[in-house]
Symmetry: C2
């Protein structure tokens, strides 16, 4: 039932695992009777809030197997906190931190050390039926998992060629860009398909008011390096407060870099020494080109880049080769 996996060739797509975790919550806003169940389709009323009005939140985390066999998670408390903020914005109940953490002990299919990770996808969904726009009367908290390879492979996928989008927005100031609402992603498909169709890897969005400042890639944060100063857009509502983003900022400061969270104009990005993206799926990925209007700027590859240095420290913390001084690592077995 669960396929045999060639760990040297695992990509970033869905491979069913044995189990998923599910718990429900009705009007009293208390999740209860969570249980690990065989992975299976879930049943939803066609009038469920998530299907009709997009009342849903997602998270993304990775579990890694270390060489000594220990299974570790990276800062799951940060995902739990972000989920809580998001649930409040989307008028949904949220499991407690304790409930959340207890669900992360997924026993199956974590790739061998160095070969990838187990991607965990927590969801809170408005599963109760409604007709008029209002809160759903029932919610489901669910975690499914799938083994994924290391995102960075040699060759085409090891760099991002970004296209700066001027027609579509990702988020507006009073919207949901600062939380992991499922509603941020469906609308991003059209610009993403357009960019991919034109040979780009990803879309870089600008602020929706002036279309002058860099905000975020479809599902990762962006960093700019100029004269050894690292800058990234602030997370003031339109930019997702990425856990990798936050950690990379700390790692960079530990390495002695000056890191600024501030508005970044497109032209600054185009004149940068280096740019890179961070996210749970991609971890840290360097940008090899930026295309804005009809101008394409190429960044130097295969240099001793800042992003490589920061990624190396990040990976060393996860695999235990560098001491976890900040208490970022959660050992789950």
């Amino acid at each position: 039932m669960v396929p045999k996996i060639d760990w040297n060739n695992v990509g970033f797509d869905i491979k069913r695992t044995d189990y998923m975790y599910m718990m429900k919550c009705t009007n009293d806003h208390e999740f209860r009777q969570g249980q690990i169940k065989p992975y299976a389709n879930i049943e939803l009323d066609p009038a469920a809030g998530v299907l009709n009005y997009g009342q849903g939140l997602l998270e993304g985390m990775k579990a890694y197997r270390r060489e000594d066999g220990k299974i570790v998670l990276f800062r799951p408390d940060q995902n739990a906190l972000r989920l809580k903020v998001g649930a409040e914005r989307m008028c949904m109940p949220c499991p407690s931190l304790l409930e959340y953490n207890s669900t992360c002990e997924c026993p199956t299919l974590i790739p061998p050390a160095g070969k990838g990770s187990l991607y965990l996808r927590p969801l809170i969904l408005g599963t109760g039926p409604i007709l008029g726009l209002t809160q759903a009367p029932e919610y489901t908290f669910l975690i499914y998992t799938t083994p994924v390879g290391n995102f960075l492979k040699e060759g085409v996928n090891s760099y991002f060629n970004l296209y700066i989008e001027e027609e579509y927005d990702r988020a507006s100031r009073g919207g949901t860009g600062g939380i992991k609402s499922i509603t941020n992603y469906g609308p991003a498909l059209r610009p993403l398909m357009k960019a991919r169709g034109n040979g780009f890897s990803e879309v870089l969005y600008l602020d929706s008011v002036s279309r002058k400042y860099v905000e975020e890639v479809s599902s990762c944060n962006i960093f700019v390096v100029k004269d050894n100063v690292i800058s990234t857009p602030p997370t003031n509502g339109t930019v997702l407060p990425g856990v990798t983003r936050k950690s990379i900022i700390e790692i960079a400061r530990d390495h002695g870099y000056q890191v600024e969270e501030r508005l970044i104009e497109v032209k600054e990005l185009l004149e940068a020494d280096e740019a890179f993206c961070t996210g749970t799926a991609v971890v840290v990925v360097p940008v090899s080109s930026i295309t804005y209007q009809d101008k394409r700027v190429e960044f130097q590859k295969d240099i001793d880049s800042v992003s490589k240095k920061l990624l190396a420290t990040y990976v060393a913390i996860i695999n235990g080769h560098t001491e976890d001084e900040k208490g970022w690592i959660s050992v789950i077995n």
Copy 2:
């Protein structure tokens, strides 16, 4: 199994009917084998596009029973066209107009003439599983139905007390405000609950850039009347092109009114003679007050209003008391 219904006291909530319509579509983008099935939960992979990335569209229509027993739909072609535009924006396949129309012949539980209508809720959902952000590999087109009462009842629900929202946005220029994406609604729950908690019926949103122009109520369009001129915001991407909106504009012009689709500043609305909202659920509902910042403006009630006159014509076309010169009525049995 289907409850006995007191047709004099039907509200706008979910009442399960016997049947629903469903058809599926895979990568070839052809919907096929649509069938009427008993109303039931649908099964979804936890990794379905709609649950993780909000890839979904909705529609809303009403079927009415006339005094002579005929069942009629109001301009279903308009909903089908809007669905097609929305599907393109959300990177989803869409049933043809013919397929769409053939699905509207729902046999059950249409209220007696004058007592309400059967609300039809078509959905296109990305039901196939994905992990990274991309188009779902399978789609489901589904229509469920529920009998609803006449929205306008005497008393509290017969007028809207609107709150003008300045913290949250409904749509940005490059977003999905102009289509019926499910992603437009979940983010609107927080402002709606806040407004309702403060005694308002609904939220009126401003444009997300200048926060100066009136755009739309959570799920209906707004009209302003001043010196017998009717104005409504243009549908240029951030405002939903409502079928009732479009029809009321035509009816108003037939009544000899000048109707302008143009940007409307908040202060114009506050100084209007009359304001009203239109939508499939609410049809035409007069506004009794607008609250902006700390100012509350009351409109005169129980006057011989423009909205009453337009609603009367709209209702007469539906129940067959006025000839359907425009071919808006589709008789389905």
